[in-house]
């Protein structure tokens, strides 16, 4: 496990506003500090660069996501954390003019490359989005959609079982078991998001990517999703982008701090929030910008 050296950075007196502004806007070499790599990596990313046309959104990011681990990605708006997350199941392919460089692999299988079929990849790496996006179908069909297109269930009974299990794991079964044929769009926001999680786990992925899954939800619904993330960790590897540092602290084992498209610090969540190595991380988590 390599440890990178602490970046000197501009010597900013804390509280000095212009110096702080310099710190925030720094484009100087940010080298990742902390421990971005781990031994039992599910996802390995090395020297990832992402471009939108001419603009570079991600600069030379290397990171491992360990098996059955929850890794939180935090950072100010526009720092590239969502872009980075979307590289992991190639959702960026849908954006015209987006180009991804670097080595990314899932259990040793490359994610990018001419020979890689994106369909099975996305079945292995599921995704939950910021806004709940259930299909305008029944609750049952929403969950059964993935198993159907991947031919996972051959008989109706099997499909029923998958739907029930997925809804149970997402903690939604008791609320919807009597109205599986009602439209998924009729549920409340929190229920819709749990439906989307159920839909994602119905295809038995290995990794689940979550892009600010709670930002559209109220605190109670958020708490339920957070509990759920903790339970899901037993079976899945999870990467979550969040704006809430409390959420990152509550649900993750490791935290990665992004700043202006660069990965600044990766450490155990506890270390990041109690004893951050990099001054940018410290400035962010103590709320001096962001």
């Amino acid at each position: 496990m390599s440890t990178m050296t602490l970046n000197a950075g501009p010597a900013a007196a804390v509280g000095d506003s212009t110096a702080e502004q310099n710190l925030v806007n720094t484009k100087a070499d940010i080298k990742t500090v902390g421990s971005p790599f781990c031994d039992d990596a599910k996802l390995r990313m090395r020297n990832v660069n992402v471009f939108y046309g001419e603009t570079q959104a991600i600069h030379d990011v290397s990171l491992d996501i360990g098996r059955n681990q929850v890794v939180a990605m935090i950072g100010p708006s526009g720092c590239g954390k969502s872009t980075f997350l979307r590289c992991l199941n190639r959702m960026n392919d849908t954006i015209e003019g987006c180009r991804v460089e670097g080595e990314l692999s899932l259990d040793g299988d490359p994610i990018y490359g001419a020979k890689v079929d994106v369909v099975p990849l996305r079945a292995r790496v599921g995704m939950v989005f910021q806004k709940p996006n259930p299909f305008p179908k029944s609750i049952y069909d929403n969950v059964a959609y993935g198993p159907k297109i991947h031919g996972i269930a051959s008989r109706r009974a099997e499909l029923d079982e998958i739907v029930e299990n997925s809804l149970r794991r997402a903690g939604l079964w008791n609320e919807v078991k009597d109205r599986l044929d009602k439209p998924g769009t009729g549920l409340s926001g929190g229920q819709q998001q749990r439906l989307c999680i159920a839909r994602a786990i119905a295809v038995s992925p290995e990794v689940i990517l979550m892009d600010e899954p709670c930002s559209a939800l109220d605190p109670i619904a958020t708490a339920r999703i957070e509990e759920l993330i903790d339970e899901l960790r037993e079976n899945y590897t999870i990467a979550i982008v969040t704006h809430s540092m409390q959420q990152a602290a509550r649900v993750s084992q490791r935290t990665a701090y992004f700043h202006l498209g660069k990965l600044v610090e990766v450490n155990d969540t506890e270390t990041v929030f109690t004893n951050p190595e990099h001054e940018l991380t410290e400035a962010y988590i103590t709320g001096r910008f962001g």
Binding site: N89, F135, Y145, H150
Partner: protein
């Protein structure tokens, strides 16, 4: 003063009223400490004054112009001692008087006519004076009254907006009243038709031959008004058209919305919409001169009997005409499906085509159905192509290679040329029009309902 001059003067007065109202409001504000002390913005005071000045005068002017001629005519004819009893006689007499008054009467003139013409001229002149005086007094008087009322307390904005609301309401009503007017005119003529021909014969009769005997001894002219062949013809042509237009239009919409790159889309979409700009007469040429002979030759080469005017030719070309209609509407609806649904489907490992087939199209389906129903009403109402390519023979047939005729074509042929308006032959056109109106109305109603339901889902 002539009416156009008066009208121009009135417009000028309105402008002046606006300007003075505006500056008076500013003046009033200045003594009170700025525009904020006014109940409304100065421009509202201007509009308020202008409305008082112009609106009543314009309304009176309109009413005057509407009844002017009728009143003068009654007065002139009332002054003539031995006027004829019949309406046509009176019309003739009045026309003579008018010509004499204008100095262009050919033929002899009697002292009585000359007196009436002089009467007409004097009435017109005094009417003109009266009109000018009334309008100007009204405009200036009410304008001045409104100007006096410009005080910081006057809630000009509320009053102006109330008037605007009424004007908007009247514009909306214009469309509704036109529809009602059209319906009424068609309805009353249809009722006259149904007095001559029973409704059941019209709706269920299988034979259409609307030739009425004009003289008792005329041969070969039985009137048969069974509209079933027309409706089956309409249905067949429309069905062929939709059979062409729906798949092609829908698939081109899917291509444009989901697969085409921005560059292709920017280039292809206007090209497809050019099709919508081709006049239907031109489509008619194309159908009659190119497609119909081609279909006939093709059918004969495989040993089928084909007429040179066929339902197939008209339907195919009509389908092509409707393609841009469907593709443009569906394209909008498909684009309105939120990107998050596509992301959700792709994120589960759907292929592009699975995403389109299983998520995007089902989500857009209500809107697409609405668009298709609107297109069906267009196909049913389309006339020109069918006149030129499908023929006039009212055959009751299910063979698309035969010539058929449609409701709209029959309406055209029934009303073209010299017609008497008391024969069932002519009146039949109105009954057909009524049926057409009702069926497209129902279709549009369903279409709008479906589209509305779709909107509720995503807003």
């Amino acid at each position: 003063m002539q009416t156009p001059t008066l009208f121009a003067l009135l417009l000028l007065l309105i402008l002046v009223a606006y300007g003075t109202g505006f500056s008076r409001a500013i003046g009033a504000a200045r003594s009170r400490g700025g525009i904020r002390s006014l109940a409304s913005l100065p421009s509202y005071y201007g509009v308020h004054t202008a409305l008082w000045c112009g609106l009543p005068a314009l309304v009176i002017l309109g009413v005057w112009l509407a009844f002017d001629d009728a009143i003068i005519r009654a007065l002139v004819l009332g002054g003539v001692a031995d006027r004829p009893e019949t309406l046509s006689g009176q019309n003739l007499l009045y026309a003579q008087i008018q010509n004499l008054a204008a100095g262009s009467l050919v033929g002899e003139s009697t002292p009585q006519l000359a007196a009436a013409a002089a009467h007409l001229n004097s009435l017109r002149q005094s009417g003109q004076w009266l009109q000018t005086a009334l309008i100007l007094i009204l405009a200036v008087g009410l304008g001045a009254y409104a100007l006096m009322r410009v005080t910081p307390e006057l809630r000009a904005r509320e009053k102006v907006e109330k008037v605007l609301r009424v004007i908007l309401l009247m514009c909306a009503c214009a469309a509704i009243f036109t529809t009602v007017g059209i319906l009424m005119s068609v309805l009353f003529e249809s009722l006259r038709f149904f007095q001559a021909v029973p409704v059941t014969e019209f709706l269920f009769g299988l034979h259409w031959s609307p030739q009425m005997a004009m003289r008792a001894d005329q041969v070969g002219s039985s009137g048969a008004f069974g509209a079933v062949p027309l409706f089956t013809g309409t249905l067949m042509v429309s069905a062929i058209a939709m059979f062409v237009a729906v798949p092609v239009g829908l698939m081109s919409a899917i291509y444009l919305a989901e697969y085409a790159s921005n560059r292709v889309r920017a280039f292809a979409k206007p090209l497809i919409e050019i099709l919508a700009g081709v006049p239907t007469v031109v489509y008619g040429f194309f159908a009659a001169l190119t497609v119909a002979p081609f279909i006939r030759d093709l059918a004969q080469s495989v040993g089928l009997e084909a007429s040179s005017e066929s339902a197939l030719a008209a339907g195919l070309v009509m389908g092509v005409m409707i393609i841009p209609f469907i593709s443009s509407l569906s394209d909008d609806v498909i684009n309105a499906v939120p990107q998050s649904l596509r992301d959700g489907a792709l994120g589960l490992g759907s292929t592009k085509s699975e995403t389109v087939r299983k998520v995007v199209i089902p989500a857009a389906l209500p809107g697409i159905v609405g668009g298709v129903l609107l297109a069906v009403s267009r196909a049913i109402g389309e006339t020109m192509i069918v006149v030129m390519a499908a023929g006039l023979a009212a055959n009751l047939t299910a063979n698309p290679l035969e010539s058929v005729t449609t409701v709209t074509v029959q309406i055209v042929t029934l009303l073209v040329g010299d017609q008497e308006f008391d024969s069932p032959k002519t009146l039949a056109a109105f009954a057909l029009g009524l049926m057409l109106f009702i069926s497209t109305l129902i279709l549009n109603f369903i279409a709008l309902h479906v589209v509305k339901k779709y909107r509720e889902q995503y807003d």
